[in-house]
Symmetry: C2
């Protein structure tokens, strides 16, 4: 089997960490100067590995192998959330590059082409997985026309122009050549760490179902309006939120999650009874039947809140995704490689976060490998993984790519 070079691997990861460094993490939002520096540097490293490299019109950095047989795509993303961690994205990119280098050094993969792709904006500054969806042909120009940076408000077209990408074509290959997509990523949760495991073989990527819950009451003076006649939209939503937090454990099971990350009271002033309030309820599971039962529970509680008064309460669906199932063959390859390098220290698990692999899973067999996140922390500059786990993950990822390539040969 191929053997990776841990010094080269950590060297590349640490170099990426130095571009847009923020405390012990990085700040490389999509199409920022630091993000583009990272893309161009990584393109150079891909060329040194023998790949034919382009940065296309959406910022995808695509390295194509010379082989003309069945193709495997490997990769992840290079940009970061704002002021976030150093491994979310880059870990999978350097694993993919190191796999190509190690397999080439071990004699190559024959007619099977092992490509590497850094897919733009997995972190969703401008939308949802727009780079990987572009690659598989699922993005229309109109989507890019209207997209804006969620933090800064910059139109995506302006950001692409500033990054030197205006007018460049997006690369959308004939997908019939592609037989597999493999991606590695930090777990971003504490499931592996809590069980003292080092590797997670992803079985599926959760779907996100998301709702806006709106309460309409009556805005009034907080001093002169008797309690008995108030229609406080804020109180109504906070009561509903608590009821939902109490009811959901019974329907969510062990792995499904739900979150209220945002609530807005209007007008939001200390001496005014809120006349309107709005919150976003998000739930995630890899099991559509479970999501349907959770939605049923949500619908019933919202209806009860509306019926109970004194405010009107309504539920507005915002997003209802489909879980992505990872290919069983690729899962088996990851598991076999994990068992070779870390017997008994791996587990099959769903992914609670979304990843580029779900864009690919709609079009080709896809799989993902997780390494532990210390303390379960991600999207924060303290995000980290032990060097031992990073190196182990690279070995397992490289073996799995080699196994899948061998299966296609």
């Amino acid at each position: 089997m191929p053997d990776i070079n841990p010094t080269r691997l950590m060297g590349d990861l640490n170099h990426l960490r130095s571009i847009g460094a923020f405390k012990s993490g990085v700040h490389r939002p999509t199409y920022s100067a630091d993000d583009m520096t990272a893309r161009h540097w990584f393109a150079g490293r891909m060329r040194e590995a023998g790949l034919d490299v382009m940065i296309d019109g959406i910022g995808n950095v695509i390295g194509l192998a010379a082989a003309t047989g069945p193709r495997i795509m490997t990769g992840s993303h290079l940009e970061s959330q704002n002021h976030a961690g150093w491994l979310d994205g880059p870990l999978g990119m350097v694993y993919a590059l190191e796999a190509v280098r190690a397999i080439t050094e071990a004699g190559g993969s024959g007619a099977v082409a092992i490509d590497v792709g850094a897919f733009a904006d997995e972190e969703g500054h401008f939308g949802s997985l727009v780079g990987s969806r572009s690659f598989v042909g699922d993005v229309e120009e109109a989507e890019i026309d209207v997209a804006r940076d969620m933090t800064r408000g910059t139109p995506m077209r302006d950001a692409l122009a500033a990054a030197g990408l205006a007018g460049k074509a997006r690369f959308t290959p004939d997908l019939s050549h592609y037989r597999a997509y493999l991606e590695a990523h930090i777990e971003q949760g504490d499931w592996l760490e809590a069980q003292r495991l080092s590797l997670g073989v992803v079985t599926s990527i959760v779907a996100i179902w998301q709702y806006r819950i709106v309460a309409d009451g009556v805005q009034n003076h907080a001093g002169t309006t008797r309690m008995a006649i108030r229609k406080d939209a804020g109180a109504a939503l906070m009561r509903l939120a608590t009821t939902l937090h109490d009811a959901f454990p019974a329907v969510a099971g062990e792995r499904a999650v739900w979150t209220i990350g945002r609530i807005v009271l209007e007008p939001g002033q200390v001496s005014i009874i809120p006349g309107r309030a709005e919150m976003v309820f998000q739930m995630r599971s890899d099991d559509t039947d479970r999501l349907s039962r959770m939605e049923q529970c949500l619908t019933e509680h919202v209806a009860a809140a509306d019926l109970g008064g004194p405010c009107r309460v309504r539920l507005e669906p915002m997003r209802k995704g489909v879980p992505a199932t990872m290919d069983t063959g690729i899962q088996a390859a990851f598991e076999s490689a994990a068992q070779r390098h870390a017997p008994g220290r791996h587990v099959r698990m769903p992914s609670g976060a979304i990843h580029d692999a779900q864009s690919f899973a709609r079009h080709m067999p896809s799989g993902m490998l997780f390494v532990p996140s210390i303390g379960g922390i991600s999207h924060h500059w303290t995000e980290d993984t032990s060097v031992d786990d990073i190196v182990l993950g690279a070995r397992v990822f490289t073996d799995a790519v080699a196994l899948v390539a061998a299966g296609l040969a």
Copy 2:
């Protein structure tokens, strides 16, 4: 007894309604161009009524009567909340002016001086009752130096300069001459309307006790963090809010009120578990013992939330006012006048809103009269009172001023 002129009264009120008109209400924030237009116009009307008028360095419009005996101050305010109603403030101003005119026409008040004052910024764009507190000597220059417009952020000094008031002295009279302060105002609640009454004799003005409640949890990814290990600061505060709404009726009695008008989750993003949350809990009562019992209840529930985990929860007092008691002699004058004009259609009641009268009550006998607010609505452009109630209120207010003056003669 003196007799008011309803046409003159309604004419003045409707003229004020035309300055900074917004829908059927007005938009006259303190020191805005429209607010200053209203002040100068009203100063002219005061002069026509025989008063010696100044606009002082804080924008108070003060009309002094020529008499040199014991003094009575009557008044309210001219500015409005943003995009608010036409009567909140101006009603009391025109009542005071009409009382002076009617009493003068009926032969005057002898040696007793009946002054009229429009006190700046009762609506609190820059602080709390700064105009009336300035008049009674309770404002230092340093308070004005640091005050800013809560909506626009403009420093108060800049707003005063733009209004042409920079460098003018604030008028702070020898209060020993003043024996009474009388103010009329719309109720801003539905207490009178709900009982089909036309007049409220205010017994006291509530104190506001206000607290910041802060929850500290752990910010994390809303997809990858298991429910079992979450420390969701938003969920913690919403649960506490609901517990407080359930517990407070037992301690608040019939008239005390409590409000959560503001809650902020951090970072407030739909896919991130809130790591910190903050809400403002406000309570109002005219009974300090009751406020103490409510605070005890609040403290116990916050402590229980903190102890119960998983988030730390703490209570930070922001404001702890003192209720203002209205003078029993002035209450009797209002009640006697009310009984004369509207037998059985008046009631004694506390004020749930704050008013300039509480600045005066610290220094002299003070009293207030309420007229009904249709639907209990105020601080909104739909705020209104029937013409019958407006005219009746003016008759009662004028009679009461005459009664108090007679008592001082």
